[in-house]
């Protein structure tokens, strides 16, 4: 009898505690300290809470955080959002009393969403470590984000098979140096496709899969090309209405991808990122549009550095012989403006340590495979990164990442859907143009209206 009473009391107490805890969670903490107050904060009293975007690097970040805590005694908590859920995870986390002190946005459009929560980093030490001002995300005079990883994409090719093609009699292009514009690329791809049995491949390009694990390569990364050339021509860096000057070029390269492919056009709708990756690793295709982040997967699959090279994405624009690979960032660190001054100071110290200390730079380069745009960066071992460096040394102009100015996810999805329909022969190219041009203006107005 007595023990049941006790149990009941305990349960009651517990329920009460939970209630109190939950109610405390609702309490409002909106008194935002002004941004330069962070300087006065005491880092040794603060702690860091990083909401990480990249699931592949989750373990490495946690390990690095542990090392930092061991060295300095400052608590660093790292949490990672599941693939594709960063925005919703961040939204929920920002409402907590214990909100992330360090989070990230993907560029100008992402910054517009979170600007109220971003601290001005203009006076921070870490900003001074940047090798190039281009990697700071600015709005007016204030710097709200700092790119911490630079990535490059292009057309990864299998050097060994491509060499086999160059050496064969049916090849009209004889060396990689000659392969420097769209016409040459098309010639090579068509000839590989025609002689695929002789070369032992299933197609020139890996499947341009439009499953959500792969469609970003085309609706976002490939779509960057016409945007890049339009911005360049008009001398702008973002726009509320795209004209679509280079959409015919976009069509050209997309046609090439889906025609000289390992599979039928109608199969592309369900092909995944892993499908393309496997085809490339197995040597079933010569070209694979992807980026430096893919290096780990390719080498794990058995490809050697000597098999790998990266070509710029040629879309048939005049003067593209001097075009380089697409290099940029969509990973910008932001410090939560609503965090306490101590936490802000601790967070700034932590990121500065990550990009300046030996432990930090080694972890970023070796464990995470990142190329970081900071002065003390350690050289990466990634072969694809070296391809980029070679291109830059050869005087090629890198293509900037303008897809961070795309108006919304809905816009990308709209273009992706239209591309899928077009590839399968169910829709015409006009739908892609409409989604690209009209959709841009509509989505831009929705997001900024």
């Amino acid at each position: 009898m007595k023990s049941t009473t006790l149990k009941r009391l305990a349960a009651l107490g517990l329920a009460g505690l939970m209630t109190a805890g939950a109610l405390a969670g609702c309490s409002d903490n909106s008194a935002a300290p002004d941004s330069d107050a962070a300087k006065t904060g005491d880092a040794s009293k603060g702690s860091v809470y990083y909401l990480n975007f990249k699931p592949e690097q989750d373990k490495a970040w946690k390990a690095l955080a542990k090392k930092y805590t061991k060295e300095t005694g400052i608590d660093v908590k790292v949490e990672t959002a599941a693939e594709g859920t960063y925005e919703s995870t961040l939204t929920a986390a920002m409402d907590k009393d214990d909100a992330p002190t360090l989070f990230q946005v993907n560029g100008p459009v992402g910054l517009a969403n979170w600007k109220d929560y971003c601290m001005d980093l203009s006076d921070s030490d870490v900003l001074k470590q940047l090798t190039n001002d281009e990697f700071a995300l600015k709005d007016g005079d204030a710097t709200y984000g700092i790119a911490y990883v630079i990535e490059t994409y292009g057309i990864i090719y299998n050097k060994t098979i491509l060499q086999k093609y160059f050496d064969s009699d049916f090849a009209s292009v004889k060396s990689i140096e000659e392969l420097n514009n769209f016409d040459q690329l098309k010639k090579v791809a068509d000839e590989i496709q025609e002689n695929k049995d002789a070369l032992g491949v299933k197609g020139a390009f890996t499947s341009a899969g439009m499953d959500s694990s792969s469609d970003w390569r085309f609706k976002t990364h490939l779509a960057n090309m016409p945007i890049y050339y339009e911005y360049k021509e008009d001398g702008i860096s973002s726009t509320d209405a795209i004209k679509g000057t280079y959409l015919d070029n976009y069509k050209k390269i997309w046609d090439l991808y889906i025609t000289d492919s390992t599979c039928a056009k109608t199969d592309l709708a369900s092909k995944t990122g892993t499908d393309a990756e496997t085809e490339f690793i197995d040597g079933d295709a010569v070209f694979f549009q992807n980026g430096t982040w893919e290096y780990g997967a390719l080498t794990k699959g058995g490809l050697k550095d000597k098999d790998l090279g990266m070509l710029p994405i040629y879309i048939g624009v005049e003067g593209e012989e001097d075009q380089g690979l697409c290099t940029g960032s969509e990973n910008y660190w932001c410090v939560n403006n609503e965090a306490s001054d101590d936490d802000k100071a601790a967070t700034l110290d932590f990121i500065n340590w990550c990009v300046t200390s030996d432990t930090g730079t080694a972890a970023l380069a070796d464990d995470m495979g990142f190329v970081i745009p900071f002065k003390k960066a350690k050289e990466a071992t990634n072969k694809l990164v070296k391809c980029d460096a070679e291109m830059v040394d050869a005087g090629k102009t890198p293509v900037t990442w303008n897809f961070t100015t795309m108006p919304s996810e809905d816009w990308k999805n709209g273009v992706g859907t239209a591309l899928t329909q077009y590839a399968a022969g169910k829709g015409d190219w006009d739908a892609v143009v409409k989604a690209f041009v009209d959709g841009w203006a509509t989505e831009y107005a929705k997001a900024n209206g």
Binding site: A11, L12, A15, G16, T19, A22, L23, C26, D28, N29, S30, E87, S88, T91, M94, D95, A112, N113, W114, D116, Y117, M210, S212, A264, T266, D267, A269, S270, P407, S408, E409, D410, N413, G414, T417, A418, T420, Q421, A424, K426, A431, K434, A435, F436, V437, D438, G439, W440, A441, T442, E443, K446, A447, N448, G449
Partner: protein
Amino acid sequence: MFKKRNRLFFLIFVLPTFAAFIIGFIYPFFSGIYLSFCKFRTVSNAQFIGIDNYIKAFQNEGFLQSFWFTCVFVVLSVVLINLIAFAVAYILTLGIRGSNVFRTVFFMPNLIGGIILGYIWQQIFNGILQKYSTNLALNETYGFWGLIILMCWQQAGYMMIIYIAGFQSVPHDLYEAARIDGASKSQILTKVTIPMMAPSITICTFLTLTNSFKLFDQNLALTNGLPGVVGAGGTTIYKTEMIALNIYKTFYANQNSRGIGQAEAVIFFVIVVVIALAQLYFTRKREVQQ
């Protein structure tokens, strides 16, 4: 004295559940309604803007499309799921061998999560459709029937269990009396069994109706709304997107869209409540006292 103490205990014991109900339901519900009138980024910095969100929600073509798609889906799936579940339950109460094994097997799909189920069926359908050079993502007819098949497969087993319980609760003397009076098998089914099972039918229609209306996971995993058609203004309208999925996507679309998504959710709530209550009212009327 004794009674007063009892009442005190009653209050104490009901408190935790009551508190949980307030925190877990009442508070979010009303703050949700409030937020639908706000522009907000996170729920703690909402800014009241009036009915603007509701106007935008009704102007959202994708929302209207998903509403009609959902309605058609609900009608068809409610009918099919209940017919299948009723038929299976009828057969499994005839006393054929292995009834228990069959019951377990038919119930099993319910134990699998919607996302996994969606992906498994996506593989199956695409595997078949590939032979005909097409795909779930290319044709909304396949997507629609795919969803119907998937939902029937998953829900029929659950409803079957409820119907089996209904069948077993019909008193045997009624059957006996009917047989003595010379009723045929089909007469027994329509004049005795079905009226006696009206409570089961009420609960099953209610469950299938609300489940189908609120369907999200399976929709997300199976078609994710695809295919899309580029409409006026270059906005893409997704042909197999149901309301819940549309609300979710609207909510996260851009910095201004959260309130619109919230307003859509409130509209959706009202619709589901009205339809579900109407259905309960009409099916309850048919129930008979035993």
